[in-house]
Symmetry: C2
């Protein structure tokens, strides 16, 4: 019976468990562990895991796939804790919002006969914790996949297939690129949102401001409700890129401020707003061309998906081809095929 | 037959028409005018207005209530156009996102025997134009009401009742306060969102950034899709307050940047994120205490609402009380009541 381990059962870990359960793979057994008291039991009752593990190593022991969904700074200690228990050939992945430090820790701490493929589901919501877990959280959202240099093709396929099962769109990317890009489109927005809520709510006029705050304000400050330790860990592990983008952003905003402040730049102002509106509307309708990840083109059965999930897609497809070949040989179709 | 005029039939004007129609007031006739070709007919077909007016003055002529929902900078010319046509005692309101300039123009251009009550529905969506109009757009959202000093109590009541009919929450406020508060919670967010989409989309790595942009990025850049001429008009008519808040914001963001950049301020960093998260969560559950607008406490019938809409609530309530008194007198209850 193939074993999968989820270590860290918050919003992300819990949602992964629920999504895997929803995919209805035969014979899959999910072991889960969370450091917080009571969370293991809650995750089992919600149907996110099958078995509660007392320690990370107990969850990881003999697992074909280990998913680490702890806060970023806890991933290092988790690597140390599970390293002795990991089976040879096991595939390990994570869900942290930054990747460069994670890849370095994996290289230092995980055994050589284990494949590490970094992961980052680019999804979330205002609420956190196991009770906010949602099987549909990842549907249609990008999920960055960052293979270690030493990772095998089969291990990459395993993680890609696992990601596809959750409904997310696997996006292969390098760790440095990941952290630089995410600084712009995820970590910078987090800081902008936080700073906006901070400056508004610390104003003396806050009760009056709040009374006229509409849906625009509520939407744009949504990220200010993010888990503080996540924001802290992101700031710490992606400091260089984040500061770079904060500086670029402040330069941009200062330019806009100066155009607004001058009475001689009205045309430039409306042109700027119009350019941005057009670009964003285009982005919402169809994002600019991007590298498309390799995806299976024909649907697989549940059994094939389970097998593919464990051994890599190539082996499954080759097996299927061979089986079809054998069937055709048995039915006498083969001669014709070989003559073509 | 009481006449209402809506001048400007975009998202806001169209939604006001639909909301008034949905309220199902007896004998109400809505005249509408839009400067753009074809919009009048479209608004009538959608059921947002009853009659198409060829010019603003034609719509306003003899109307008990005139609602101006044009772009901000067009409001001045609209005042000039309708002034000669307005009936004595007419109530005029608007929907512009800034109020100080509007109040000044109204004082200069509207006749003395007309009451002007500025208005601002704090609602909206990404799309604009009559085809995006929605009867439910204002439901539960704040709607700022800014009476001119000369406005009568009855005129204020008319506008408050009109706003309540759309489902919005009327919020009485002074023009200077309005513009200062809205600069913080609406116009500043508009600029932050615009600057973020601008800096990301002008980056060389934009296709890669877009590929990993998740729901957080899409939400926080929603306001960058706002109508460019609206953003321009806001910047122009609320320049001083907006620049003030942009400067306060940049100071806040710079402080956050410096804490992130330093390796010695980790505790301060997590504390700051935690403080903001707690404050925003509290805001979402229950906004801080604010001045509560006077609201009718018992429901009125459609006929009472129509009457109240036109003559002011006090008169309707007093009429209702007198009628009840007469009924009680007729049924012999009155002596007991008077003895209490």
């Amino acid at each position: 019976m193939p074993k999968v381990a989820i270590i860290g059962l918050g919003l992300i870990g819990g949602s992964i468990g629920l999504a895997l359960k929803r995919a209805n793979l035969p014979d899959l057994e999910i072991f889960g562990h969370d450091v917080e008291f009571g969370v293991n039991g809650r995750a089992r009752k919600l149907g996110a895991i099958d078995k509660e593990a007392k320690r990370p190593a107990q969850a990881a022991e003999g697992a074909a796939l280990v998913i680490i969904a702890t806060p970023i700074l806890q991933v290092k200690a988790t690597f140390e804790a599970i390293a002795p228990a990991l089976a040879g050939g096991a595939v390990v992945t994570d869900t942290a919002s930054t990747k460069a430090d994670i890849m370095r820790w994996a290289g230092e701490l995980l055994p050589d006969d284990v494949s590490f493929i970094g992961g980052h589901p680019i999804a979330g919501k205002e609420t956190s914790g196991i009770d906010a877990a949602d099987a549909a959280l990842f549907e249609g959202q990008p999920w960055a996949i960052v293979p270690a240099i030493s990772a095998s093709e089969a291990a990459i396929n395993t993680v890609e297939n696992f990601v596809s099962l959750t409904g997310a769109v696997p996006t292969l990317i390098d760790a440095e690129e990941h952290d630089s890009y995410l600084a712009a489109v995820s970590h910078l927005p987090l800081m902008l949102s936080t700073a906006l809520f901070s400056v508004a709510s610390r104003s003396q006029a806050w009760p009056e401001l709040a009374a006229v705050a509409g849906p625009g304000f509520r939407d744009i400050t949504r990220l200010a409700s993010s888990n503080p330790s996540m924001s802290h860990d992101i700031s710490l592990t992606n400091r260089k890129n984040l500061v770079h983008w904060l500086d670029r952003y402040m330069e941009e905003l200062h330019g806009l401020r100066d155009i607004i402040d001058s009475s001689e730049t009205q045309e430039e102002l409306i042109e700027r707003f119009a350019t941005v509106q057009t670009a964003r509307d285009a982005f919402m309708v169809a994002p600019p061309p991007k590298p498309v990840p390799e995806q299976p083109t024909d649907p697989m059965s549940a059994g094939e998906r389970m097998m593919s999930f464990m051994v890599g897609e190539y082996v499954v497809r080759r097996t299927k081809e061979v089986q079809e070949l054998m069937e055709k040989r048995a039915s006498g179709e083969l001669d014709d095929l070989e003559k073509r």
